[in-house]
Amino acid sequence: MTTHHQRSARTPIAWWECEPRRLHRDQEEITTRFPDLAWQQDGAGTWEGRLPRWPFHRPEPAHLTDWTGHEGLLLRMEYHQAYPMVAPRIIPLAPRPEPLEWTQHRWHVSGDASLCLLREDAVWTGRESAVDLLLKAAGWRIEYALMKHHVIDEMTANGIVSDDRLDHFLARPPSPDESGHHAARPTGPGESAC
């Protein structure tokens, strides 16, 4: 009993108590790049809010909003108490992938409905910026729209943050047959199945 009481009396240490500089860095980077995300210090902490529809450096394609609507991805980014050694999870809230799309490699969605943004755990060493993950999530939202329009039948391997291979689709409005079952494959170089 004594041991039990001693254990239950322990106060958990949140990751930001051990890594206050990392929290400060994240807050600075994320609020600067994505001012519509709000920090909530519940559990291991979350960021929730909407990403810009086109946060990339290259110009926004002319008809992007015809494909995605005017709003960017609404999401919740959840930290783990092992952060920064473990990457945060990003859960899309709107659009929200359908259960049939979960665990689907071509949709880049994991079994818990979070986005699968890193194929290898080892890619995340703890030093990378969470902003890079959020950028990938913004790219996922656009590829998701193209998947839903049946313009592509699988998402790109590395995302479109700095890759314009899918931009030509977004430069023109969707044609009527792209709302049906037509599946045109991207023609950009280097495309590979993931």
Binding site: R21, R106, L117, V123, E128, M155, N158, S162
Partner: protein
């Protein structure tokens, strides 16, 4: 240039010139011999980094301990004014024996100042920021072999065991010939770390005792040290003899841990580059840790880098990493 040769070259920029080290030892020994001739002095010995051969260049000061006969000073060793009295007693003896104007043994001391634990004796102009000084500390030997030393500010005597650290460092050096040189390298490295306040050199020395392996080459040993120290420093750095408590309570542990982590990361990449046959890349990474004094070839052009750099040191930006 190979990795070992580069470390040898860099070591020369950290080590004090042999003649200056010899001069510092001669000055220290002059004080020891002069004070040992006093009837109330039982023994004298050097303490501080010079006594452990872990001194960094330039040598501005040396430390010596004068162990007095407690019977000759029955009031010493207990809290109260005796702490300051002991320091004043040293000052009187030093002036009589070694003052520039009328020393009976030599004429080297130009000025003395009472500090918390010791009397600082200036052999150069006190206004010279690089003035050479000898710090003389009074002590009483205890039955268990440890010392009691005066603490003027708190009017008390506190336990200490500087000989323990001297012995520990000597033992590590006997087991691995790179230990002392690398302690000097780490003391130099600490000057490049961005922390609130400063990092005491003794902090680095004690961390080296705890975290430096006693085998292998310098590169792998440093990689291990930086990795282990990044974790260890969070616990604070304490007197290894267990008497004096935390060495630097105001140490900016977090920033130092971050610096250790960064150095560990670079050292890991340097070792990987060397293992892959990319000696130039490895040397440039060590230079990134230790600064421009560490010799390394200039970075090759982009084309050459794309051919020779191992994947480990050219990580792909995460925003372009494979997903799904």
């Amino acid at each position: 240039m190979g990795i070992d040769d580069a470390f040898n070259d860099y070591q020369k920029t950290v080590n004090e010139d042999l003649d200056k080290t010899k001069l510092a030892r001669e000055r220290r020994d002059l004080f020891k011999t002069a004070l040992l001739s006093e009837p109330d002095v039982l023994e004298t010995f050097g303490s501080g980094s010079l006594s452990r051969s872990t001194q960094l260049r330039p040598i501005h000061d040396v430390d010596i301990v004068i162990v007095y006969d407690g019977d000759a000073h029955p009031g010493w060793g207990v809290s109260g004014p005796s702490a300051e009295e002991a320091l004043e007693h040293i000052r009187t003896q030093v002036n009589r024996l070694l003052s520039q104007s009328n020393g009976t043994r030599d004429n080297v001391v130009r000025h003395t100042l009472l500090r918390n634990h010791a009397v600082k004796c200036f052999l150069d102009d006190p206004d010279d920021p690089e003035a050479f000084t000898v710090d003389v500390m009074a002590a009483l030997r205890q039955a268990d072999g440890t010392l009691l030393i005066p603490e003027q500010l708190n009017t008390r005597w506190v336990p200490a065991n500087p000989e323990y650290l001297i012995d520990q460092v000597a033992e590590r050096q006997r087991g691995w010939p790179h230990f002392r040189p690398l302690v000097r390298v780490l003391k130099q490295w600490r000057h490049t770390v961005h922390v609130e306040g400063r990092i005491k050199s003794l902090v680095m020395e004690v961390l080296a005792l705890h975290c430096m392996p006693d085998f292998g080459n310098r590169a792998t040993a440093l990689k291990t040290f930086f990795t282990a120290a990044a974790d260890r420093v969070h616990e604070g750095v304490w007197d290894p003899a267990g008497l004096c408590g935390e060495i630097q309570p105001d140490l900016d542990r977090e920033a130092l841990a971050a610096a250790f982590t960064e150095a560990a990361d670079l050292a890991d990449q340097a070792c990987a580059a060397a293992a892959a046959g990319d000696t130039g890349g490895a040397l440039r990474l060590w230079q990134k840790i230790f600064g421009d004094d560490f010799p390394a070839p200039a970075a090759p052009g982009k084309t050459a880098a794309a051919i020779t750099a191992p994947a480990l040191i050219t990580p792909r930006p995460i925003k372009d990493a494979p997903q799904g």
